[in-house]
């Protein structure tokens, strides 16, 4: 099932910020109240919103703007169903929270009034749906697994532990003496009655149509980027003969590369020891599977193929535009169009892109960074008090983006592109040798790329270098931009992403009536 991730950001009336915080705390208390009538904490939300994986509620205070109330949620299926379930479960509480917020100035204003007016009985779900934002970049650790399946497979895992446990400490565990294929058969027979769904095939996690859609979106994004980069070159290509074009852009490119070379060094005392910033090309290797984009040959062929397709498609579009404007027919316009597109592409890759990097580097050298952001010890304590209680933590950070057209374009397009690429390349096979971008979560290069446009961020170099590599400074800056997560719900608080994948692999194996010795040996490793 398709998962949805969304955020709702609402401006809060400054006078109501304490009340809003108290309302969120009260929902948390109600959910954690052992006398709530549910067997476990957050039982009401678990039962009332069965599509929900995670949800957070935070109020971000700032000296620069009025407080912002942020709800982030990750759930199965479309937003309408989720908000309907939220309304049925927490409707009165959500309405009270909305009454602490400001009326939006856009066309959602009348809806806000309808929802928040005294004695209003208008449903709150449409307002939250209208104010929901889809993040430009997000990553699902266990894509394609709906909540019910994650919980079912978690229970199955616990049952396997029980079945595999040594029944008598004095006697050897019978499973230890069995070959893997026999363990599979025995376990399956033992668990089948308690887990009848093992007889049914698992639903496809990511359908072929979804995968194709992911890659088409990436291709569309890259296509638009290439068109954008090609525009300066295409304009000049219209009026310049191609030899002159090549000479002009060649000279310009050389000058840009010289500029980049001169500006390559980090600011004095700000260089980070890791040259790559966590982004290495080590993942590219001839040892990788030839079908993987992590194989240099496959990657090269893929890039060339994409550029070829771009050239043809862009030329066809340009030709049709030419036909519409000039009235000439295809045979007259095809080659001139192709020439413009090809020269544009050449200039885009070798001139425009480096020129943008040069501009960015020029800005980076002049950016100010906040070396010692003020940290509120009380807030830090409050954040620390709520962290590391379960296997997952929620972290919310709100930062202002550095001004300027380039920064905004890079920020928007960068996040969008990154999100699309992460989605397309992340597969359910966690160990696949693929171009994987988990560095967003794990490596400083990714953190720099994602956050480097924030005001006060430690000095960056070429968008991904330095920055977050300044560990202490980065952490202080990140803490400064964070706030207390007042409410955090996880439908499976004891599981990590890897553990969920492990459950899924065990369940997939147990769904099959038989395994080959090789498959069984591979499967049994997860036990």
């Amino acid at each position: 099932m398709r998962q949805t991730t969304l955020s709702v950001a609402l401006e809060v009336e400054p006078v109501s910020v304490d009340r809003l915080s108290a309302l969120i705390d009260s929902v948390k208390c109600q959910e954690e109240d052992p006398a709530s009538g549910y067997a476990e904490k957050y039982g009401r939300l678990q039962a009332g919103v069965p599509v929900l994986h995670f949800m957070s509620m935070s109020v971000f205070p700032s000296a620069d703007y009025d407080p912002v109330f942020v709800i982030e949620a990750n759930f199965d299926g479309p937003p309408g169903v989720f908000w309907g379930q939220m309304e049925a479960t927490l409707g009165p509480q959500l309405r009270a929270m909305l009454r602490c917020c400001k009326k939006p100035a856009n066309r959602d204003g009348p809806l806000f009034v309808a929802v928040t007016s005294p004695d209003s009985r208008y449903p709150v779900a449409p307002y939250f749906a209208a104010r929901s934002l889809r993040p430009s970049a997000f990553h699902h650790g266990n894509r394609g697994l709906d909540r019910g399946r994650i919980l079912d497979e978690g229970r199955l895992f616990l049952a396997t532990r029980k079945a595999l446990a040594q029944p008598d400490p004095a006697a050897p565990n019978p499973y230890r003496l069995m070959p893997a294929a026999r363990i599979h058969t025995e376990l399956r027979a033992a668990l089948k009655s308690a887990f009848p769904w093992l007889e049914q095939p698992a639903s496809v996690r990511i359908s072929l149509a979804e995968r194709i859609g992911d890659w088409l979106r990436v291709a569309g994004f890259l296509f638009l980027v290439l068109v954008g980069l090609s525009i300066p070159g295409m304009i000049v290509a219209f009026i310049s003969p191609w030899p002159r074009f090549l000479v002009l852009f060649g000279i310009a490119a050389v000058l840009i590369y010289l500029g980049l070379y001169r500006m390559r060094a980090p600011l004095a005392g700000k260089g980070a020891p890791t040259r790559s910033g966590g982004l290495t090309i080590e993942s590219l290797s001839f040892q990788n599977d030839l079908t993987s984009l992590a194989h240099p040959v496959t990657l090269t062929i893929g890039v060339l193929l994409f550029l070829g397709i771009y050239g043809v498609v862009a030329s066809v579009i340009a030709t049709w535009l030419g036909i519409a404007v000039t009235g000439y027919w295809f045979d007259k316009l095809w080659w001139p169009s192709f020439r413009v597109v090809a020269l544009g592409l050449l200039s885009g890759v070798f001139f425009t892109l480096p020129a943008i990097v040069l501009w960015l580097r020029w800005l980076e050298l002049r950016d100010s960074s906040q070396d010692a952001p003020p940290l509120n010890p009380e807030l830090l304590r409050e954040m620390a008090r709520r962290e590391d209680r379960i296997a997952q933590n929620h972290m919310g950070s709100l930062v202002l983006v550095k001004p300027g057209v380039l920064r905004m374009a890079l920020f928007r397009a960068g996040h969008l592109g990154l999100g699309l690429i992460v989605r397309a390349t992340a597969t359910e096979e966690r160990h696949a040798q693929n171009v994987r971008l988990d560095f967003i979560e794990k490596a400083h290069g990714g953190l720099t790329l994602a956050w480097g446009s924030g005001i006060g961020f430690p000095p960056t170099r070429f968008l991904v270098l330095d920055g977050a590599s300044h560990g202490r400074q980065f952490k202080a800056w990140a803490r400064h931009s964070m706030t207390v997560t007042r409410f955090w719900f996880s439908a499976y608080k004891d599981y990590t992403v890897d553990q969920i994948e492990r459950h899924a692999r065990i369940a997939d194996g147990l769904r099959k009536p038989t395994l080959t010795p090789k498959e069984a040996a591979e499967w049994a490793r997860d036990l």
């Binding site: 299926g77 169903v81 959602d108 009985r121 307002y127």
Partner: protein, 413 residues
């Protein structure tokens, strides 16, 4: 002389082109609502408005002050001008009368008295039918009137059939938008006769000095204690309201639910497993999910008491003038994919808020808890039987007469 034209519970079916056209149109109502939900969720023609989306249906139901129930005029005819809370706004009288009735129609009665009785009588009927049973009249209507008649303390009037009277009055009140003169003539006879019947029961009980532990007996005991809301007129109106508004409904919706289960062999098998496992809760999930595909009615009417707006602040916002009739299509709301996951899928594990069988707000069905518990039990003994299937021929498919379920024959081993 009989108060009704015939002894058949339902009036003779309408004939002619108009009846045929109405039947055809009714068959396409779900499709029509589906189209409306997408292209025109709030449809207005003249002074009539139809709301089809879940949010809007809920909004209208919850906003009793702006959208009042339009039952007063006909209810006055039935009750002889005495008020009954079904037609009231949220007033002190409404609160007093509903609170009074909650003293005598007690939640504990469902488990202690009614549930077992419904199941026992249904089992008796199913066991004696020798493998071939008509569901609407022989099972559901019979069980409903026998159990609830005894519970309310209202037996058949001498020489008459309470099922016929109650169903006629129900039709007049809720399912007669064209105000059929023939039906009105029957109502003009039945309504005073039923009032006289209940008055007679009150006097008889009081004269005997024995109140008995049924709703009428409890009302008389409350009257004797001087509890407000229990004058003779109030007792009579409440009992008439219960008899007219309550028992005629199960014979409509329960056979419709069984028809939906018979159309879905997997769902039927699931319901049968639940019945055999004595899992009343799960059985109820199957029955109410089945009812979602063919609920009591496509829509319920409301009357706008003032100029207002439905879905204010949205693109589909619609102004409603004072006096307009608003049809609240709760059947459509229960199929709205904007709020229900996969609404066209039979899913017995749905959440409570996904069902609007009993309305919302002030005029939520007074007997909601009774219905939730008892309706599934009427089918439970039948569902336990192996080999449950449609009877051969057309009689094995549910037929309707106007808004009412007419006949459905099934066989079992």
């Amino acid at each position: 002389m009989s108060a009704t034209a015939g002894r058949d519970v339902l009036r003779p079916p309408a004939n002619g082109f108009k009846a045929w056209l109405t039947a055809c149109l009714m068959a396409y109502v779900p499709l029509g609502f589906r189209v409306l939900r997408t292209i025109r969720p709030i449809l207005r023609f003249g002074n009539t408005i139809v709301v089809t989306r879940y949010d809007d249906v809920r909004e209208v139901f919850l906003n009793d002050a702006a959208f009042r129930v339009p039952y007063k005029d006909k209810l006055d005819i039935i009750m002889g001008g005495h008020p009954f809370f079904l037609s009231m706004d949220e007033t002190p009288e409404y609160r007093r009368d509903t609170a009074a009735m909650r003293l005598v129609v007690r939640p504990a009665d469902i488990t202690e008295r009614l549930a077992g009785e419904v199941e026992r009588r249904a089992e008796h009927i199913v066991a004696n039918a020798k493998g071939h049973l008509e569901i609407v009249d022989s099972l559901v209507r019979r069980v409903t009137f026998e159990v609830l008649g005894a519970y309310f303390g209202i037996p058949d009037p001498p020489g008459e059939d309470l099922r016929v009277w109650a169903t006629r009055l129900f039709e007049f009140q809720f399912a007669d938008p064209g105000s059929d003169p023939a039906l009105r003539r029957e109502v003009d006879t039945i309504a005073p006769a039923l009032r006289a019947h209940i008055n007679g029961l009150i006097e008889k009980r009081r004269a005997s000095g024995s109140f008995s532990d049924d709703v009428l007996g409890r009302c008389l005991a409350m009257h004797a204690q001087g509890v407000p809301g229990f004058s003779d007129d109030q007792i009579r109106s409440a009992l008439m309201g219960f008899i007219v508004g309550g028992p005629p409904q199960p014979p409509m919706v329960v056979p419709q639910a069984l028809e939906q289960l018979l159309r879905r062999p997997e769902a039927l098998a699931g319901a049968q497993r639940a019945a055999r496992a004595d899992s009343n809760e799960l059985l109820a999930c199957y029955i109410f999910e089945a009812m979602r595909f063919d609920p009591l009615a496509p829509a319920l009417p409301r009357t706008a008491t003032r100029d207002s707006t439905i879905a204010a602040g949205t693109r589909r916002a619609a102004a409603v003038p004072r006096g307009a009739t608003v049809y609240v299509a709760f059947s459509s709301a229960m199929m709205d994919q904007r709020r229900l996951p996969d609404p066209h899928l039979f899913n017995p594990r749905r959440l409570p808020h996904e069902y609007i069988h009993f309305g919302y707000g002030l005029h939520t069905c007074f007997g909601i808890h009774m219905n939730q518990a008892l309706l599934p039990l009427m089918l439970k003994p039948l569902l336990k039987r192996p080999g449950l299937r449609r009877a051969p021929g057309r009689s094995g498919y549910l037929s309707k007469r106007g808004a009412f379920a007419d006949r459905l024959h099934v066989e079992y081993e």
